[in-house]
Subunit: 279 residues, 2 copies
Amino acid sequence: MPSRPGQAPPGPQPLPGVGSIVAVGSGKGGVGKTTLAVNLAIALARLGHKVGLLDADVYGPNVPLMLGTNGQPKVLSDQRIEPLEAYGLKVISVGFLNPGDKPLIWRGPMLHSIIRQFLGSVEWGSLDYLIVDLPPGTGDVSLSLIQTVPLTGAFVVSTPSDVSLQDGRKAIEMFRQMKVDIVGMVENMSYFVCPHCQHEIDIFSRGGAEKTAKAFGVAFLGSIQLDPDIRKAGDTGKPAVLEGENSPHAKSLFDFARTVVARVDEIKSSASAGVIQIQ
Amino acid sequence: MPSRPGQAPPGPQPLPGVGSIVAVGSGKGGVGKTTLAVNLAIALARLGHKVGLLDADVYGPNVPLMLGTNGQPKVLSDQRIEPLEAYGLKVISVGFLNPGDKPLIWRGPMLHSIIRQFLGSVEWGSLDYLIVDLPPGTGDVSLSLIQTVPLTGAFVVSTPSDVSLQDGRKAIEMFRQMKVDIVGMVENMSYFVCPHCQHEIDIFSRGGAEKTAKAFGVAFLGSIQLDPDIRKAGDTGKPAVLEGENSPHAKSLFDFARTVVARVDEIKSSASAGVIQIQ
């Protein structure tokens, strides 16, 4: 985002036309953060909202694969970037700019600059929600994001395993330290139903995220079961929520989306006026 | 590692007394990288080797929890750091220095400095293998590590899901670009056997890592099944390999350890003399 003349070093600046900016964090990777970010964004669009999805996971940008979309975003005449469209979402991902298997071997300052560009130079237009898929951990990208735009809030994805919860607690503490409102915590891969014998099996344990949410005084946003069909839907570029709210694979994802909407409304109505300043 | 007087900016410097340095990378988090690093290190120790384990995953240091060990490493009179001991391993983790739920919200340069300190100031003594658990991704820590010590090699952990493989390919490409020998690729969470009906279920798909290894011309190091007991063992600080090679939960992990030993020997015997210089 360009700084304006005569202004002090820029704090977080609102994105004009964007109602709520919701970040999806996790502490630990591989817990289904991107799967939930993608399904949440599409579910919100299906529920009638205008939604953008920013894939800020610069080292592992899986959003293009999960949306089955690829292509080079257009650069407009004024150097602004036009996001791609997929399933009714406006989407931007470093995966569009750097497709294929070549990694971005970048140190922190490069990350900072691309995140600022994605936020400030992309033509998001008018959005009700901009969902931001953060990389796992508590590093450069999260810092840059928080310092660049005022987040409405962030939620934390964890599996119920102790190692995932350990990192999830760190993510909650990070958002707290950075004065970001916490939308809540969601438990992913919560339990598994054997497709052959219908027994429920707690592969990654169960219930830990709800307990952690309670212990940390944050909202619990629901449990999403470990469902091979949700994973397959992501691997094939057709996220599970596309099946509609009545699909057994999508129901908990739509419930989750409605809970996020309610919590974001709550945060916005209780927020004091003005931009949150980072200490 | 302190630079020596009269020396040019230091390239990778060998760690005196350490035979092989093997990094464990993944591209994507949550694929069981730390679980495999911890079990590999203990299996190597059980096979009679002297082993150190460096937890370089500074934002999500899960090694202390998986080893059930904690404590403040002693600082010796010459400012060198004494690693902790657990199950016959010498271990160092940022989790020992920063226990609890407070996150390290650090930008890249801080990471660089802690990694250099962990490698240069820790009193590793004489080791056959130093196993380094990298954070997921292709960022600062991996760069710092590769620039600080000459890695004997690195292997890449992936689940068989397409999103994990996508990031795993990036990790392979990163190591290649950095001229690090690739020990191989291992498939974790490869398939699941229902404990009730014994059906095999490919929750995260199956076989993709072997195919990827073949396509990229790297060794395939084996498949480890998705086993809730391996996860539980990690969550309770008693890694599965402690049950011994005859345990059904540990057998594939010991097989994997032997394959790593063989591949590392192969790399060492074919390596040209002298330190690999990073371009």
